[in-house]
C-alpha cells in the first residue's frame, strides 16, 4: 500500500506556520504537549472537505482560502470601552467579556460566591472530539482555556452573559476556548454573544464545552452577530449528568459563513436535552449546523428543533445525528428541522439521521423545506394585512416554536426582538 501525502493548501500551510511561530510563547508542560498533539493531528488530516461527511456541505478546504493573521492580545482598557453584547439589551446579567480570545476582567454586577472564573493554559477537549480538525486547531491555537465553575447546588439567579468580541481593524483570526462546569444540583442561565466589526473580514474558531452535573439545570443561548464578512467556526460540547436538564438554543443570523457543530453526550441516566436553532439567513450567507446527540446511557430524552428561514441567495444546512448506544434502552429522541425558503435562489440541505443500537427506544426524525403557505398569506391579506407584514407574522410564528423553548423570559424576549429586527430589515 502506498501512503499518500496530501498536498497542503495555502491555508493549511499558513495554519501550521502560525502554530510554529507561536510555539515558543507557550510554556512547556502538558498543555504544550496537548497543543502539539492537536497540531500533528490537524497537519495529518488537513482542513476538512466535502468528502468528510460532517463537512460535506461546508467544504473548508474550498471556503477557507486565506488564513487571517492571529489577533493580538486585547489593548489595555478595551474591556471598558467596548459595549460588549449590548445589542441584547439589559438582561441584568453578570457579564464576562472575552476579547480576541482573552478574558478581560469584568464584574458588573459582581458574580455571586460559588462561581469561580479562571483563565488557564490551553487544554485538550473533554467533551468535543479532539480528532475533529476544527477542534484540533482550537486546541493548538487558543491562548487560554477560560473556565467558569458553578459550585454544587448553586442557583445563579441572574444569567451569566459571556460576550465574545473581536476587536479588529484588519482581518484577523481568533481562537477561543471556554469551559463551563455546572456543579451537581446547580442551575444556570447562560448567554453567549459573538460579535465583531461588520466591515472587517474576521475569522473565529470558538470551542465551548459545558459539563452539566447530576441534577443540574442549564438554559443556554448562543447568538452569532459577527457580521456578513465573518467566517465563524464554532463547536459546542455538552455533557449531561444524571437527571440533568439542558435547553440550548443557537441563533444563527450573523456570520457570512458559519458552521456550528454540537456534540451532546448523555453521561448520566434520565437526563433531558432540548437543542433548538433559529436561523435567519439572507444575502449570500451560508450557515451550517451539524450535530451529534450521543445517548450513551439508558433513559435519556433528547429533542432537537431547528427552524431556519432562508432568503435571497443564502444557503442553510442541517445535519443531525442521534446515536443510541447498545445499552441505552428507553431512550426517547426526536429531531425536527424545518426550513422556510423565501426566494427562488434560497437553498437548504436537511439531513437528519438515526443510529440506533438498542431495541427498546422511541426515536424519530423529520425534515421539511417549503415556501410560505399561499393560502395562509391570502387569508391574512384578505383581512387587510399587507403582504410583507403577513409574511412577517407567518415567519415569526414559524420561528416562534424554537424561540419558545427558552423559559427565561427576558432572554426569550431579547431573542424575540432579534427576530423582529430581522423581519423589519427585510421591509
Amino acid at each position: 500500500m502506498t501512503a499518500l501525502t496530501p498536498i497542503r493548501t495555502k491555508a493549511e500551510t499558513a495554519l501550521i506556520a502560525q502554530f510554529e511561530a507561536l510555539r515558543h510563547e507557550f510554556p512547556a508542560g502538558s498543555a504544550l504537549t496537548a497543543r502539539e498533539a492537536a497540531m500533528t493531528s490537524f497537519a495529518a488530516a488537513g482542513l476538512p472537505h466535502r468528502r468528510i461527511e460532517a463537512y460535506h456541505y461546508t467544504d473548508l478546504r474550498n471556503l477557507l482560502r486565506e488564513v487571517a493573521p492571529l489577533a493580538g492580545a486585547p489593548r489595555a482598557g478595551t474591556g471598558r470601552s467596548i459595549k460588549a453584547g449590548g445589542f441584547m439589551g439589559d438582561l441584568g446579567a453578570h457579564k464576562l467579556v472575552i476579547i480576541n480570545g482573552c478574558l478581560v476582567k469584568t464584574d458588573v454586577p459582581a458574580l455571586p460566591k460559588g462561581v469561580a472564573i479562571s483563565a488557564l493554559e490551553g487544554t485538550a477537549p473533554m467533551i468535543l472530539d479532539g480528532g475533529d480538525a476544527i477542534v484540533a486547531l482550537n486546541t493548538a491555537l487558543a491562548r487560554q482555556t477560560i473556565t467558569v465553575k458553578i459550585g454544587n447546588g448553586m442557583k445563579v439567579e441572574q444569567p451569566i452573559h459571556v460576550a465574545f468580541v473581536q476587536d479588529a481593524a484588519q482581518p484577523q483570526a481568533v481562537f477561543t476556548r471556554l469551559r463551563i462546569e455546572v456543579g451537581e444540583g446547580a442551575s444556570l442561565t447562560l448567554l453567549e454573544t459573538h460579535e465583531g466589526p461588520s466591515s472587517v473580514a474576521t475569522q473565529a474558531n470558538t470551542a465551548v464545552e459545558i459539563a452539566v452535573g447530576d441534577d443540574a439545570h442549564l438554559e443556554h443561548a448562543r447568538v452569532d452577530a459577527q457580521g456578513s464578512l465573518a467566517l465563524s467556526l464554532s463547536s459546542l460540547g455538552l455533557s449531561l449528568g444524571r437527571r440533568a436538564s439542558v435547553v440550548s438554543l443557537n441563533l444563527a443570523a450573523g456570520s457570512g459563513i458559519a458552521r456550528h457543530q454540537i456534540r451532546a453526550v448523555f453521561v448520566g441516566e434520565q437526563a433531558k436535552l432540548m437543542l433548538a436553532g433559529v436561523g435567519m439567513l439572507d444575502g449570500t450567507m451560508h450557515s451550517d449546523t451539524t450535530l451529534v446527540v450521543d445517548h450513551a446511557v439508558p433513559g435519556g430524552e433528547s429533542r432537537e428543533l431547528f427552524k431556519t428561514v432562508v432568503e435571497d441567495r443564502a444557503t442553510g444546512v442541517f445535519q443531525g445525528k442521534i446515536i443510541v448506544r447498545p445499552h441505552a434502552q428507553k431512550t426517547d429522541g426526536k429531531m425536527m428541522s424545518a426550513a422556510l425558503l423565501l426566494s427562488e435562489e434560497a437553498s437548504m440541505s436537511n439531513k437528519p439521521e438515526l443510529e440506533i443500537f438498542a431495541d427498546d427506544v422511541q426515536c424519530g426524525h423529520g425534515a421539511t423545506c417549503g415556501a410560505l403557505d399561499d393560502d395562509l398569506l391570502f387569508y391574512l391579506m384578505a383581512r387587510g394585512i399587507p403582504r410583507k407584514e403577513a409574511q412577517a407574522l407567518l415567519i415569526r410564528s414559524f420561528l416562534g416554536a424554537a424561540v419558545e423553548t427558552l423559559s427565561h423570559e427576558p432572554l426569550r424576549e431579547a431573542i424575540g426582538v432579534l427576530v423582529d429586527d430581522w423581519l423589519k430589515r427585510r421591509g
Binding site: F378, A382, R383, F398
Partner: protein
C-alpha cells in the same frame, strides 16, 4: 355598491366563471345559490383577490373602483370582507395579535390612526360576547383547535370588528348545526345596515330562513342563470337544481 360585469376567470387554464354579471345595491342582502361546482366559491375568491385564479375578462367594481387591480389587503381596506368557507388555522399567531394587526393595517391604509389598546379590547370583547366567543379563545392561536362552528363564529366576529361595507359570505352555513347556524345568522342580521351590503353564497335554502335575502340569484356553470326574490330560494329547495344542471340544459 358591488358591480360584477361579464366576469370570466379560470384556474390552471380551466374556465370556471363564464361571464358573471351581478349588481348588489347598498343595504341589499343578495343570495347566490347553485349546485356544487357552479363556480360560487370561485366567485367569492376572485372578488377577494386570491391569486390562484386568473381573470380573463370583465370587472368587479366596488363603489365604481375596479378591485381586480388591487391586492387583497387593499380590497379589505376599501371595505370588502370575505367570510371563508374554510377559515384557516394559523399556529403561533395569537387571535388577538392577528385581529389588532388586521384592524390597524386597514385603518392605516385609510389614513386613520391606530386604535387605542383600550378601545380595541372593548370592541373585541363586545363583538365576541355577542357571538358567544369565550375570552380564552381569543388568547389562543387563530382558529387552531377551534371547532367548525367556532371558526365560523370567529369569521362573523371579525366582520363585526372590521365593519366592512361589502360582506361576502362563502357557505357560512356549511358544517354548522342548527344552534350554531342561528348564532351566526343573528350575528349577520345584527350587522345589516343601510350602508352595508351582503352577498350570501349558499348551497341550501336553510341559511336563508335565518338571513332573509332581498334578492336571490341562481348560479350554474359559471353564470347567473336566474334572478328573483326570496321565493326563488323556496322553489329551489323544493325542486332542486336539476333544471339548471348542464345535462338538463343540453
Amino acid at each position: 355598491m358591488l358591480d360584477i360585469r361579464n366576469l370570466h376567470a379560470e384556474i390552471d387554464g380551466k374556465p370556471i366563471l363564464k361571464g358573471v354579471t351581478l349588481t348588489v345595491k347598498r343595504g341589499e342582502v343578495a343570495a347566490i345559490m347553485g349546485p356544487n361546482g357552479s363556480g360560487k366559491s370561485t366567485l367569492s375568491y376572485v372578488i377577494a383577490g386570491k391569486q390562484d385564479y386568473e381573470v380573463t375578462q370583465g370587472e368587479v367594481l366596488l363603489d365604481g373602483a375596479n378591485v381586480l387591480e388591487m391586492d387583497p389587503d387593499e380590497r379589505a381596506a376599501k371595505g370588502l370582507f370575505l367570510a371563508f368557507q374554510y377559515p384557516l388555522e394559523i399556529p403561533g399567531v395569537a387571535t388577538m395579535t392577528f385581529l389588532k394587526a388586521a384592524l390597524n393595517a386597514q385603518r392605516k391604509k385609510r389614513g386613520e390612526e391606530e386604535i387605542s389598546p383600550g378601545d380595541f379590547i372593548r370592541q373585541v370583547n363586545q363583538a365576541g360576547d355577542k357571538l358567544g366567543i369565550p375570552r380564552d379563545m381569543l388568547r389562543r392561536a387563530l382558529n387552531v383547535g377551534f371547532s367548525g362552528g367556532e371558526k365560523k363564529r370567529m369569521e362573523i366576529m371579525q366582520m363585526a370588528l372590521f365593519k366592512p361595507r361589502m360582506c361576502v359570505l362563502d357557505e357560512t352555513d356549511s358544517g354548522l348545526d342548527i344552534d350554531a347556524l342561528r348564532i351566526v345568522a343573528d350575528g349577520v342580521n345584527a350587522l345589516r345596515a343601510p350602508d352595508r351590503a351582503f352577498l350570501v353564497i349558499t348551497h341550501y335554502q336553510r341559511l336563508l330562513n335565518h338571513i332573509v335575502p332581498d334578492t336571490v340569484h341562481v348560479m350554474a356553470d359559471g353564470r347567473i342563470v336566474k334572478s328573483g326574490g326570496p321565493e326563488l330560494a323556496v322553489e329551489l329547495e323544493a325542486k332542486g337544481y336539476a333544471d339548471y344542471l348542464p345535462a338538463a340544459a343540453a
